[in-house]
Amino acid sequence: MHVGLEHYLLVSALLFCIGLLGVIARRNLLIIYMSLELMLNAANLAFVAFSRFNNNLNGQVMVFFIITVAAAEVAVGLALIVALYRRRQTAHVEDLTTMKL
């Protein structure tokens, strides 16, 4: 079986959807955050695949950017979640509803 662009894209789309599902369905902030990273990686996969099949290296450059940014985001995000946990002893989204309406 020849693995073509469509297959990569399909996987990437699946990854994206799995991540999305995780974001919507999970309640723990850490898991949500991991799901988000999954979604970013889905994009990375798509980029790399496009880059490979279109013979355009720009896509791979973009992937580096994304990875870097994601790393920064994770650093900040985890710090925040930790700060929250220390304050409230919880990392569940239901407990984060002091502001509403």
Binding site: S12, L36, A46, F50, I81, M99
Partner: protein, 481 residues
Amino acid sequence: MNAPLMILEIAVVLLGLVILLADLWTPPSQKQSLGYIAAAAVGLILLGSFFIEAPQARYACGQMYVMDDLALYFKRFFLLATVAVLVMSVEFADRIEAGISEYYALILFALSGMMFAASANDFVLVFVALELITVTFYILTSFQRSRVPSLEAGIKYLILGALSSAFMVYGIALVFGTANTTNFAEIATGAKAISAKPIFLLGLLLVLVGLGFKIAAFPFQMWAPDVYQGSPAPTTAFLAVGSKAAGFVLLLRVLFSAVPEVTVSWTKLLMIISGVTILYGNLCAVPQRNLKRLLGYSTIAHAGYMLLGVTAMSVAGSYAILYYLGGYLFTVLAAFTVICVVMRAVEGDDISAVAGLHQRSPLLAVTMALAMVSLAGIPPLAGFFGKFLLLKAVIEKGALQPAYYWLTAAALIGVVISFYYYLGVVKAIYWSEAPADQPALQISKPTRFSLYGCIAGMLYLGIFPNDMVEIALHAAQALKL
């Protein structure tokens, strides 16, 4: 590279680093005033920006970065906003336990992100600039770590922001895959061939989702009230002005520089989004009692108004947005500066906190009242002329497509509803039952100047719109609509 073209951004980033470094040698009691130094320096950079001219678009970083009138307009806009936000931050400093210098530095880094966004001519730069803004804002929103609302705002902004980034990145990937480039100009030239491809459209839509999140347009507005409410006041102000404006400049660039043909076919979609955003923001604000949250809803509505200019698909609409943002800058900064000063002593941001403000500080009362009136869009203030231009741009199109009239009607209904709650704030300030003997409010000199500046700006843009119209018009013409 053509680095000299990016001198403003470089200066801002350097300034941020300098502030961080200076923090090491500054005694703790003096750290607050680093903010004034930063503000002054940003002011200087702003002055310096007037030595730069961009009659012709110039490019840097391999066409990724563009320097034209539009970019310059927004850079000055962001610089000006930052000056006021920094002054406000100093006012706010005593409510931040630690790391005030970092707070200033982060503001400056966010500023640099916004300035890059203003010059974005490539999806890569769009992404990087946006992330630079967003990531710094995660920190800025949750800077009062000991306050749960601030943390909560940070987390919410983090999760939703990351979600929208994910959509956007995925969208960019799809666009890249179909167009085989991320550069706006190249996409524009090749758009005819690819604009029928659903994948390309899907990618573009996902990018728009990301931008819609930035400007808090319906249905991506959920974060706005919570984050506005929970964040420190300067952050909220910066979010309302800077982040939103960055979203708009990117929206304009993407829609009108990269894919004008596609944009036209999405007019109806944009109109619906604009109309619903206006109505949603205004309706939700009506029963609101928390001042910052109220302004959060109100900024949703204002995003809707500015989207009117986008839907018009014309130079008139675009420069109306630019003009509107100009007025909006002074107005929102004025409002948040007042909130920042008034809320110092009060826990919670209920409207009742401003009750009787006119006795405690006439200047603050007048500023807030003017800001509300300007947001409501009444002459002789900036908000009026901006709305006037936006409505004009939309009605202009009405002759071709009657749907614009419905949009106008929705906008009008929104404006009328908004009077109700804006006036409620004015009422609270001037004629509500207020607890007696509240202490007079002390306002520091820089804040005072910043307030005067905001008032002058609101009045100037409202009464003498000519110069600003010319500038905005020039800037909008860079879009080649």
